[in-house]
C-alpha cells in the first residue's frame, strides 16, 4: 500500500454495447422528466431503436475486432464469443419487441392509477400515453447484457436485478384486464424476489467456501479447498434455484403462465425470448465456468430437472385453454430441451458442440416466439386480445394468411423439419447423444411428441373447426407488427432451410468456450 488508489481499467470499446444501452436508458429517464408529454413518444421511439441498433453494431464490431483473451472491467465482465452471440440475439430480439411495443393500444394510460378508479378514467380522458415503457425496457435489456456476460457472481447479481426490476413493472402495464396484469406483476415480483434472495444466499455460501466471487476463482478453488463441502453444495443448489427460476425450469416454473398471460403481450414477447436467452447465458457461465469441476455433483440433479421440465411443460400445456398460458408452458418445455444441452458436457470439443447447439437453439426459438406473440396481439375481441383458445376456432377461414403464419410458428415449436425449431432441437439432442445422455434425449423426443399434440390442437382449431359466430376480429396490423411477423417468419424459414451460416457463427462463437 503506497497510499495511491489504482484507477480500474475499463475496456470501453468492448463494453460499449452495454454502455450504449444504459446510456440511452438514462437519457430516456431525463426525457420523461423534461420533455413535454406530447413529444415524448416521438423522441423515445427513435432513441430506443437507435440505441439498440448502435449496441448491436458495436457488438458485431467487437466480434470482428477479435476477442480478448481475458475478462474485461477488472474481471467483472467476460466479453467472449458466447457473450457476443448472446448479446447479438438479445439486441435483435429486443429491437423487434420494441416494434411491437410501439402500439398504444396495449399499455395502460397511467400505471399508477387504480384499475377502474376515477383516476384512471381521468387519465384515459386526457389522453395520457405511457412512455416510461421505453426507458424501462432499455434498463431491462442492459441488465440482460450484464447478466449473461458477468464473470463474477456480484456483477451477475447486479445484472439479474437490473434486468428483473423493470420487467416486474412492465408486466403490470397492460391496458386491458388490469387486475390480471397487476396480479401478474405482483406475483412475478414476489417470486422473483425470493429467487434473487436464494441466489444471493447461495453466493454468500459459495464465497464462504472459496473466498471469492469471481467465477474463475471459484473454479480454481474447487480443486484446492477441502473440507466443508456442505457449504459448497448448499451454495451451489441455491445459485441453481435462482438461475433455474429465471429460465422457468420445473419445479420453478409456476410464475411463467401467470406472468405471460397477465403481461401486455408485447412485453410477454420480450420476456419469453430475451430473458430466456440471457438466463441461459448466465446458467452456462455459473455451471460450466465456476462449477465445472463439480460436474459430478450437479449433473444428476440437472438430469432430474431437465426431465421434469420437459414433461411438466409438455403435459401441463395440454390442459391450457388460454393461448398465452399454452405458449408459456411450451416455453417451459423448451427450457427443458435446452437444459439437455447444458448437461451434455465432456471434453472441450464436446463442450463447444453443446454450447454452439444451445446458442443456435436460443436464436431459433427467440425469433419464433416473438413472431407467435406478435400474432397473438392481432387477434382481438371487444375487450382486448382474444386469449381463450375457443375464440381461435375457424381463424383459418377468416384470415387464412395470419392463421397460416401462426400454424407455421407452431410447427416450428413442435420441431417439424424445414423449420428452425427442428434444427435447434436436432442440434441440442445431437450434442446430448454424443455427450452420452441418450435416455435424456429419449425423454426429450417423447415430450416433443406430447407437445406436438397441443400445437396441433391449435392448428385443428384454426383450420378444421368452423368459426364461431361472433369470433374475434383481426386487428389491422401496424407497420411495426407486420414487420415483426414477417421478420420472425423469415427467420424461421431461413434457419430451417439454410441453417449453415448461423450454425457457423454459433460454432465460431463457441469454439473458444468461455474465457475465465
Amino acid at each position: 500500500m503506497n497510499g495511491t488508489i489504482q484507477a480500474p481499467t475499463i475496456e470501453y470499446a468492448l463494453l460499449s454495447p452495454m454502455l450504449i444501452v444504459f446510456g440511452a436508458a438514462i437519457i430516456g429517464v431525463l426525457i420523461e422528466a423534461f420533455a413535454p408529454r406530447y413529444l415524448r413518444k416521438s423522441i423515445h421511439m427513435p432513441l430506443t431503436l437507435l440505441a439498440l441498433l448502435g449496441a448491436f453494431a458495436t457488438t458485431i464490431l467487437g466480434g470482428v475486432n477479435g476477442l480478448p483473451t481475458s475478462a474485461s472491467a477488472m474481471g467483472a465482465v467476460a466479453v467472449d464469443g458466447p457473450a457476443l452471440f448472446v448479446w447479438g440475439i438479445i439486441l435483435i430480439l429486443a429491437f423487434v419487441s420494441v416494434l411491437l411495443i410501439n402500439d398504444d393500444e396495449q399499455f395502460v394510460a397511467q400505471a399508477a392509477a387504480v384499475p377502474g378508479s376515477s383516476d384512471e378514467e381521468e387519465a384515459v380522458r386526457s389522453g395520457y400515453a405511457q412512455t416510461e415503457v421505453y426507458p424501462l425496457l432499455l434498463f431491462a435489456v442492459g441488465g440482460m447484457l450484464l447478466f449473461s456476460s458477468a464473470n463474477d457472481l456480484l456483477a451477475m447479481f447486479v445484472g439479474l436485478e437490473v434486468m428483473s426490476l423493470p420487467l416486474y413493472l412492465l408486466c403490470g402495464l397492460a391496458r386491458r384486464r388490469r387486475l390480471l396484469s397487476q396480479e401478474a406483476s405482483v406475483k412475478y415480483f414476489l417470486l422473483g424476489a425470493f429467487s434473487s434472495a436464494f441466489f444471493l444466499y447461495g453466493m454468500a455460501l459459495v464465497y464462504g467456501y472459496t473466498g471469492t466471487v469471481s467465477l474463475k476463482g471459484i473454479g480454481d478453488a474447487l480443486g484446492v479447498v477441502s473440507g466443508q463441502e456442505t457449504l459448497l453444495l448448499i451454495g451451489t443448489a441455491m445459485l441453481g434455484v435462482g438461475l433455474l427460476f429465471k429460465i422457468g425450469a420445473a419445479p420453478f416454473q409456476a410464475w411463467k403462465p401467470d406472468v405471460y398471460q397477465g403481461a401486455p403481450t408485447a412485453v410477454t414477447a420480450l420476456m419469453a425470448s430475451t430473458v430466456l436467452v440471457a438466463a441461459f447465458g448466465a446458467v452456462l457461465r455459473v455451471f460450466w465456468v465456476a462449477l465445472g469441476g463439480l460436474e459430478w455433483n450437479w449433473q444428476p440433479v440437472m438430469w432430474g430437472i431437465a426431465i421434469l421440465t420437459m414433461i411438466v411443460g409438455a403435459i401441463l400445456a395440454i390442459t391450457q385453454t388460454d393461448i398465452k398460458r399454452m405458449l408459456a408452458y411450451s416455453s417451459v418445455a423448451h427450457a427443458g430441451f435446452l437444459l439437455t444441452g447444458v448437461i451434455a458436457t465432456g471434453a472441450a470439443a464436446q463442450n463447444a458442440k453443446a454450447l454452439s447447439a444451445i446458442l443456435f437453439y436460443l436464436a431459433a426459438y427467440g425469433f419464433t416466439t416473438v413472431g407467435a406473440f406478435a400474432v397473438v396481439t392481432m387477434v382481438r375481441d371487444a375487450g382486448g386480445e382474444a386469449g381463450h383458445l375457443s375464440r381461435w376456432a375457424g381463424l383459418g377461414k377468416r384470415s387464412p394468411f395470419l392463421a397460416g403464419v401462426f400454424a407455421f410458428f407452431l410447427l416450428a415449436f413442435a420441431g417439424i423439419p424445414l423449420t428452425s425449431g427442428f434444427f435447434g432441437k436436432y442440434a441440442v439432442f445431437a450434442a446430448a447423444v454424443s455427450g452420452g445422455a441418450v435416455p435424456l434425449v429419449v425423454v426429450g423426443v417423447v415430450s416433443s411428441a406430447i407437445a406436438a399434440f397441443f400445437y396441433v390442437r391449435v392448428i385443428v382449431l384454426m383450420f378444421f373447426n368452423d368459426p364461431a359466430a361472433d369470433g374475434p376480429s383481426i386487428a389491422v396490423p401496424t407497420v411495426g407488427t407486420s414487420a415483426v411477423v414477417a421478420l420472425a417468419a423469415a427467420a424461421t424459414v431461413v434457419l430451417g432451410v439454410f441453417p449453415q451460416p448461423v450454425l457457423d457463427l454459433a460454432d465460431q462463437a463457441a469454439s473458444a468456450l468461455f474465457i475465465r
Partner: protein, 509 residues
Amino acid sequence: MPWLSTLMAVPVLGAVGVSLVKNDKLAKQVALAVSLVVLALTVVMATRFDPSSAERFQFAEVHQWIPRFGVHYGVGVDGIALVLIALSALLVPIVILASWHDADGTGAAAPPKRSVRTYFALLLVLEAMMIGVFAATDVFLFYVFFEAMLIPMYFMIGSYGGVQRSYAAVKFLLYSLFGGLLMLVAVIALYVVAEKNTFMFPELIGAIQDPGTQKWLFLGFFIAFAVKAPLWPFHTWLPDAAAQAPAGAAVLLVGVLDKVGTYGMLRFCLELFPEASKFFTPLVIVLAVVGIVYGAIVAIGQTDMKRLIAYTSISHFGFIALGVFAMTKDAGAGATLYMVNHGFSTGALFLIAGFLIYRRGSSRIADYGGVQKVSPVLAGSFLIAGLSGLSLPGLSTFVSEFMVLMGSYERYKVAAIIAASGVVLAAIYILWMYQRTMNGPTAESVKGFTDLNARERWVVGPLVALLIVFGFFPKPMLDVINPAVDKTLSSVHVTPFTPAVAEKKGAGQ
C-alpha cells in the same frame, strides 16, 4: 440434367402457381398439367435408367447442405426407388383427375366447400415430397422428407375429409410423429456412433458393427417404419385416416405414403443394421403374419367400404413386410413389386369406392345393392380392382404375392403357409363386398346412379390396364427391381437360396 431435382422442383413450382391462380377451374387444370409433366419426365428418366449398371444409385446428385451436421442434399435412384417414384408420379395425375370435385362441395356426401386451390397445391407439394423421400440417399434428407410429408397430408385429411376428419388427422399426425421422433433419436445416434461425419447412406453401410448398438438403432428405425407401413399392432390409425380422408388423398396415403415404411425397412433397416435385422427377423415375421390374418379377418367384418379397403391394406402390408424380412431374392423382389402393384390395386379400389360415395353420399356397404344393373362399367371396374386385391392370377398382384410366398417359404415354411391363408380370406372380403354392393336387387337409393363418365373412365382405365399388363408381363419391372434387390441383399450378407427364376413365373401365367 439433374433429373431428380427437376422432378421435385416442377411440382413445387406448380403448387406455387396453383395457389396463385384465382380461378378454381384453371387451378385444377394447371395442377393436372403439372402432374402430367412430372409423369412424362419420370417416364423419360426411367427409360434412361440402366438396370445393369455397376453404379448403384443413378442420376445421383450430391451437394453439401449443412456441413456442420454432415448433411448432404443427396439424391439418386436404384431400381427399387425408381419403381416407387414411378408409382407416385403415375398416381398423382390420376388422383388429381379423380379429385376434380372433392374439394368444391358438390356431390352427395361432400363436406362444405373449401379452398379448391389449396387442395391441389397440397397435392403437388406432397408429390414433390414423395419423390424426394424415395430419392434421398442421405439418411438425414430422408428423415426430413419423411416427417415433412406428414404436414400436407395432415391438412388434406383435416380440411377436406369426412365427418370425423379432425380426429383422424390428429391421430394420423401424432402416430407418425411419434414414430418419427423415435427414429430421430436413432438417426442422431447413427451419426454419432458411426463417426463418419456424414449422413450419406452408401458410406454408412457397415459403419455400425457393435451388435448391441445395431439392435437399438434398428428398433428406432423399425418402429417408425412399422407405424408408417403400418404393421400390426401399430396400425390403428390407418382405418380412421383412410376412411376420413377424401378418396384421392386416401389413395396417396395408402398407396404411396405407407410404402415409405416398407421401403425404409428394405433400404435402411436391412442394410444399415444387418445383424440386428437377422436378430429381429422372427419377431417381424410374426408381426407380419399376424397382420396378414388379422387385417383380413377384420376386413371381413367391416361395414364401411373405405375402412374395409384400409384393413385389406394392413393385410397386404403384412405380405410386404414378410417378403422384405424373408431376405431371399424372390421374396425381396416380390415385396418390391408388391409395393407397386398394391398402389395400383388399392388406388383403383379407393377411387372407385370414391365414385360410389360421390354418387350416394354414404360409405356404408349396406346403403348399396345391385349397382351393376345401373352402372355396369363402374361395377365391372370395381370387380377387376377387387380381384386384383385378392391376387387373381392374370393380374399383377398375383405375381408379387406368389413371389413373396414362394420366397419366404424357402426360409420360413410355417409363416408362409399361414400367410397363404390370407389369400383365401381375401376372396371372402372382396367378393362379399362386391356381392353386397353390386349384385342383388337394385337398392332404391342406387336407382338414379349414372355410369362412369369420361373423366372417371380416364381415372380407372390406366389403373386397370396396368394391373392386367403387368399381370401378364412383369418382366420390365422385375428387370429393374432384381439387380437392386440383389445388391441390397448382398450387403446384408445373406447367401441367396436360389437363383431368381421370377421371370418365368410371371410369364408362365
